[in-house]
């Protein structure tokens, strides 16, 4: 893990309140794995004072080398509003790559990815990462859920993949009119996968974990917590561990990707 002064390559709208920011980093992100994150700081600002965590959405490739990263973010408050105002050439301070990412066990052929809203961010990196490696994605499925048609992100990336794509929206403006966990469960019943990987709002992840558990399927989820340091120093990012009352895991070190059975839902 290293601290980098990164340069904004682009910062483009990806939907209503969503942006993709490309960052050129002097350090090397080639070793980063899907599910890992960075802690981002807006330079020379004391308010917001803390860094903000963002999943790596993709690597920025240049001549076969990863010379930067891309983040996909939703504007929800102070830091993300300021972030959305950055222009090409501006600088941000990033710390990373941090945390434990998704782990594909050898022999896991059939993998279902489930994303809710901006939770699609790390799953795009997951797909592009394994596409660059000798991994057969032909039995993978992708489940994308969002509030509405405009909130469906990264459809372009997934639609070129030749992987079955299941789309749902809360208002029925695109895909099925239901929660993303609905087609997930139906497909799991018809054809149980070796692994489910999910990222999205807590309620969705709880539901995915429940589906996985009921069908006896391994499940990895990327979760969020308020973080101050992102590197195991503040102990602020605690989440309840399953089975042992009042014991905690730390999202920045033990996660953000966890085996869903480690967590108390």
């Amino acid at each position: 893990m290293l601290q980098h002064l990164a340069t904004v390559l682009w910062n483009k709208k990806a939907g209503p309140g969503y942006y993709r920011i490309g960052l050129r980093c002097p350090g090397n992100f080639s070793a980063a794995v899907p599910g890992q994150f960075v802690m981002l700081r807006l330079v020379r600002r004391l308010d917001p004072v803390l860094r903000r965590p963002f999943s790596i959405h993709n690597l920025v490739m240049h001549g076969g080398q990863a010379n930067g990263i891309e983040l996909l973010y939703q504007v929800v408050g102070k830091a993300t509003t300021l972030l959305s105002q950055l222009k090409t050439g501006d600088r941000v301070d990033i710390l990373g790559p941090l945390g434990r990412g998704f782990q594909l066990p050898s022999g896991a052929k059939k993998v279902y990815l489930a994303a809710g809203g901006v939770g699609v961010a790390p799953l795009v990196f997951m797909v592009s990462y394994f596409r660059r490696r000798p991994v057969d994605l032909s039995q993978w499925h992708i489940f994308l859920g969002a509030k509405s048609r405009e909130d469906l992100l990264s459809l372009d990336v997934f639609s070129t993949l030749n992987i079955p794509l299941h789309i749902t929206t809360d208002d029925g403006s695109a895909g099925e009119h239901c929660l993303v966990t609905h087609p997930l469960e139906t497909t799991v019943e018809q054809s149980p996968p070796d692994l489910i990987c999910a990222c999205g709002p807590p309620a969705m992840l709880g539901c995915v974990a429940d589906i996985a558990e009921r069908h006896g399927i391994a499940c990895q989820v990327s979760i969020e917590a308020v973080m101050a340091c992102g590197m195991g120093a503040c102990l602020g990012c605690a989440v309840a561990r399953r089975g042992e009352p009042q014991t905690y895991l730390h999202v920045c070190m033990d996660g953000p990707v966890f085996d869903s059975r480690q967590l108390k839902w």
């Binding site: 700081r41 120093a233 503040c234």
Partner: protein
């Protein structure tokens, strides 16, 4: 050509190559920062608060950001003294800088046992007594807000150890001088202040506190003016060295504390914002002294003009 200024300072018999230390609970056990900070350049490392038994800490959420600050209610989660000695100290003792163990207990007897356990360890250069944590139910701050209790726990620990003993004070008191005098009389070699300020945030939509613990401790740039005032008051009240803590982000911040009378400083929340803060502060202190033709850092300590 002028010589490089001398940054060395001494806190209660402990010589430091420079006055910049890491504050307890904001630098893990040192190793977390290994790839980001040249640890051997620090004045000293103060580790996360240790208790006799491992402690699990408070339920989440444990942190909330505020204007130019943060409130934490970690609840002193730590590996416990034995795991610290067996696992964490091995790395720390390879460094060429003093390692200071920060301890807390719920009862006076726990502080005593912790000090007794640490006293024979060569790898521990000093002990910092946390009598000021706002986030644990019993003990902690209870000792830090009552001069008699602060005196007693300091004296009891003093009897257990000949190591430099720092007592860390709480800002959550009406008269900081009174507590400072009490722990100095009880045999503390130095005092450090401030710990975090008791604080809270409410979510107006849910009408619930933003921290599971309801209240927590405020730290960061927001508390610096309060910390500075208290350090100045404490430095006037006691003869022993005072270590300034609270919202220090830059060399300029550290200089304010030194001028107010602090012999050294600790950097806390800044480690989260900019992990290399301590190093930048050390370089900045040196540059300031050089630019002002001041030969040693001790020449600036307590030089407030009134």
């Amino acid at each position: 050509m002028s010589k490089k200024p001398d940054l060395q300072t001494t806190i209660g018999g402990l010589a430091l190559q420079n006055p910049v230390m890491t504050a307890s609970g904001t630098f893990g056990y040192g190793k977390e920062f290994e790839s980001l900070v040249d640890l051997n350049r620090l004045g000293a490392v103060i580790v996360k608060g240790l208790s006799l038994e491992p402690a699990r800490g408070n339920p989440p959420p444990r942190i909330v950001e505020t204007a130019c600050g943060m409130i934490n209610a970690i609840g002193l989660e730590n590996v416990g003294i034995e795991a610290f000695i067996a696992q964490k100290l091995v790395f720390l003792q390879k460094l060429n800088i003093p390692v200071i163990a920060n301890i807390y207990g719920r009862l006076e007897e726990e502080y005593v046992q912790l000090a007794r356990r640490l006293d024979p360890l060569e790898a521990v250069a000093g002990i910092e007594l946390n009598i000021s944590c706002p986030n644990v139910k019993a003990g902690g701050m209870a000792f830090g807000v009552d001069p008699a209790a602060a005196f007693n726990v300091t004296q009891a620990v003093r009897e257990q150890t000949s190591k430099p003993l720092i007592v860390k004070l709480s800002p959550n008191v009406t008269d900081i001088s009174e507590i400072a005098v009490a722990v100095a009389e009880a045999g503390a070699d130095c005092i450090s202040l401030i710990n975090t300020i008791s604080a809270m945030v409410i979510d107006i939509e849910t009408r619930r506190p933003r921290l599971a613990n309801i209240t927590g401790g405020l730290s960061g740039p927001a508390i610096k003016p309060i910390a500075l005032r208290m350090v100045w008051q404490a430095a006037q009240a006691v003869q022993i060295p005072v270590i300034g803590i609270g919202g220090i982000l830059t060399a300029e911040d550290a200089l304010e504390f030194l001028i107010a009378g602090a012999t050294a400083v600790q950097v806390g929340t800044a480690n989260f914002i900019h992990p290399r803060s301590t190093i930048d502060i050390i370089d900045g202190l040196e540059a300031f002294l050089e630019a002002h033709n001041i030969a040693t850092v001790s020449d600036i300590i307590g030089t407030l003009e009134i």
